[in-house]
Subunit: 505 residues, 2 copies
């Protein structure tokens, strides 16, 4: 009998075999067919092999959205190595912590992050480091000064249970945890999405302008080769460039967060343009969408598809079908086919219209966190992942997300965990107690603010504390404002009542 | 950590939850939404539970293509029971052999096969038997005279490794073997097909006029609920009815064998009609297609997609994309994404343009035969299934099937195994030796003919022997002609040289 393991042909290789001349990927620098893309991947994999990267090696990648990042992702797949994408916005200290925690053996970086990579290398001299470059003349991605290993053991198959990537997320404890992302999760997420949104093998083209170091971006790279469709990758989001691509390049699907979509619509108005009918799906994720934005899209016939997902669910888990967009305005929709969803209150699954914690189960949901058995056991029971987010199902089973995990702040699509900011501020000797929460912001959705109770006799100012935080936290995590307050509100068991914090304003 | 087992929500239930009002299935008798279809299934499952059918029960189904068959398939899924669809063309003796071999505990039949079911019940009194009926007034499928078990343990989930069906196929030994068809195979086949052909969630509609007791028909029932698309089911193939449905009902995909397509085109000419552009895919399987038919389709812009598959691969495994239809005329195309293919000659995988045995691997390929460890071990090694069919890959990896397993006869899409017919003829006391092979036939592709060497002194006539076979073999297996000959050709090891038989004519 067959093993229960499932082996698939390498997805990119299969695309190169099936449709070698089909356009695979475009960036401002290159346009590659699947055959070219595959060839680049093999070349880079051979260089990575020379560095000693092999099956199971944990390889950190510090690079901007672009060709080197994309080719590196697929080259690591060829070697069976584990990708650890680093959030480029983190501070040096934050990145060093992750690299140690994940026990990375190598760090690959592109030109944009050369100085940071050098600083990391100085702090972690045992790490093998190499620079990815796009030789624009030859339009080739390579590792500077590394010869190819022509005998590199390249994998022809993908074993679905194997780990493709480890992606860090913080959660309520304030300590980042590495979410294990398997090929199986990527596969089921891609298939679940295609069964829901449809799959137009010949004409689909997905525009990617989200960070590749987040699951929302990385999962599009996998859809590129699972579906065998073209993708367009931009380094940064620019409303005018994105709108022009939609009009001129036959984009059929684009993934955005609310702040991007708002800018796109504003730019559309400013340039007096409309979207063509080739744009069949605007996937809107990364937190709750403002109702006026959804109504604006409905009035323009912009095909917005709201989604709900998290790193642990390999991006979208729940999606509102275009057909329901108006009837269920404000809902995140229904779970994709591979996903089961229930609402749990006080440990019991509850019925329609009752709020509780959103729990998810299925083959696109992570099996756990890297070397964190306690966190895994606390989060996943009997295959059910407790997201910590609050929501309810209506009578037809449509999910309404009331609140991301009660303390989560979502700022321009980035998740910010108050506990992490609090932990940093508490390292200042003058700080006795601190509470962080989100404040509504017209541009970013939310920004973090902090309430700080100082030790008696301290003369620390909010400005000094913000400067202190700026040295230790990625910029988007630094509190927009810090308020000095008397002791903070707690519940009877002494737990900080973060929801009460805004009342202190 | 999660178990490696993969649980999905019941596919039909999920469709009923997601799109309750969407048209699910149409036949000349009924038109059901997914909510109605699901409700019917639950009702029937409760009646089946009363009969004692439960998880793991092997339940034979003897019914024509129609509503009772379809509802029964899904009701068995709800109970976790194993479907054993009986080829309705088999003789009583052949069916009894299968029922004993598979150790069926129950036999369900529809009105069309009432007398055969009674004969089976007489021969196998331990078998629980019940009659499926479609009450046309209430448009409801039920079991005659069986109360529902309101506490029936209905499954909400599908475990992919579980067995959905056992489907019999003969092979070279002449003894039918039960191919184990798991939910996993159905799932991966459906997804592989959608990734290749595209998936139009809102508008796809699949016409089913192939026998449901073959994998080509049964797998469409699974696509119905995995994709959440509408299907139209006909009891029999009728060119005029099928052509009218294509023109008037928005059929986008239809599965056919060559003889059906020929009749459809002839009828199209006779009625001076054309196919609308809504018909996007004519899946042509069940054996090699005549080149003039393919050229005729190309000249009419009929979107023919040739496929190669077998019961063991859960229907299509290799498919020629519409884009390649003309460039690669005569090829069966390239393997679907979940399938790996290689050509093996003398135990070694060979390169392009070298003929050998077609071998397949992947999650849509069976893990083996029911209680036939020897046959399983002989057919599947390291996950690779040896099909026995002969073919080669061209320089671009496109499969050309030269010969179905050397001795296989394909007559109007039905597989006929010479060894099985030979075994029956050899039971006649006058027959000393017999060889069966296929003869080209303009209508059916092939028909079986037999060469018989009689014992000295026998006066048996071919007509008498045909009458003898007719009592013991399904009609399509009875040799069209029987030729009395001297001793038959053998190779040095004494094996019958079936390929030499036509020379005796």
């Amino acid at each position: 009998m067959n093993s229960i393991e499932t082996h698939l042909p390498n997805w990119l290789q299969r695309c190169a075999d099936n449709t070698p001349q089909k356009q695979a990927i475009s960036t401002p620098e290159i346009e590659w067919t699947f055959a070219e893309f595959n060839q680049q991947t093999i070349q880079l994999a051979r260089q990575l092999s020379t560095l000693g990267i092999k099956q199971g090696s944990r390889v950190a990648l510090l690079a901007s959205n672009g060709v080197p990042f994309v080719v590196c992702v697929h080259a690591l797949i060829r070697l069976g190595a584990v990708l650890v994408p680093l959030n480029v916005r983190l501070t040096l200290e934050e990145q060093l912590w992750l690299l140690r925690d994940v026990e990375a053996v190598a760090l690959l970086s592109d030109a944009a992050y050369a100085s940071r990579a050098a600083a990391i290398q100085q702090a972690l001299p045992a790490l093998t480091a190499a620079r990815l470059q796009l030789e624009t003349a030859r339009r080739q991605v390579s590792l500077q000064g590394v010869a190819p290993d022509l005998h590199a053991p390249l994998l022809d198959e993908i074993e679905l249970e194997a780990t493709q990537a480890i992606m860090y997320t913080s959660g309520t404890t304030g300590t980042p945890k590495g979410v294990i992302i398997t090929y199986k999760m990527q596969w089921w997420n891609a298939v679940g999405s295609a069964l829901n949104l449809g799959h137009q093998a010949d004409s689909d083209c997905w525009l990617l302008c989200m960070p590749l170091f987040h699951i929302g971006g990385l999962s599009i790279l996998m859809k590129n080769v699972i579906y065998g469709i073209r993708i367009i990758v931009y380094e940064k989001f620019d409303a005018a460039i994105v709108n022009r691509a939609i009009r001129e390049q036959g984009i059929s699907i684009i993934s955005v967060v609310a702040v991007m979509l708002q800018r796109m619509l504003a730019e559309l108005d400013a340039s007096q343009q409309r979207y063509p009918t080739t744009l069949r799906c605007v996937l809107l994720g990364g937190g709750p969408a403002p109702r006026p934005l959804l109504e604006d899209c409905a009035s323009r016939n912009v095909p917005v598809v709201q989604t709900y997902g998290l790193t642990e669910s390999c991006s979208q888990a729940v999606t509102l079908s275009p057909a329901d967009a108006l009837r269920k305005l404000g809902s995140a929709g229904r779970p994709l086919l591979p996903v089961q969803l229930r609402i749990v209150d006080k440990g019991v699954a509850v019925g329609p219209n009752q709020a509780g914690v959103i729990c998810l189960k299925g083959p696109s949901i992570t099996a756990g966190y890297d070397h964190r058995p306690d966190a895994t056991a606390a989060t996943i029971q009997d295959g059910w992942l407790t997201t910590g987010d609050i929501g309810y199902l209506d009578n037809e089973g449509y999910l309404y997300v009331l609140d991301r995990r009660s303390d989560l702040i979502i700022s321009g699509g980035e998740n910010i965990y108050p506990a992490e900011i609090e932990a940093v501020l508490l390292t200042h000797p003058d700080v006795a107690e601190v509470g962080v929460c989100g404040q509504p912001d017209p541009q970013w959705g939310q920004v973090p603010i902090a309430f700080v109770h100082l030790h008696a006799g301290s003369s620390l100012t909010p400005a000094e504390l913000i400067a202190y935080a700026t040295q230790r936290l990625a910029r988007y995590k630094v509190p927009r404002s810090i308020y000095l307050t008397p002791p903070l509100p707690h519940n009877s068991s002494g737990k900080l009542l973060r929801r009460e914090l805004p009342k202190l304003l």
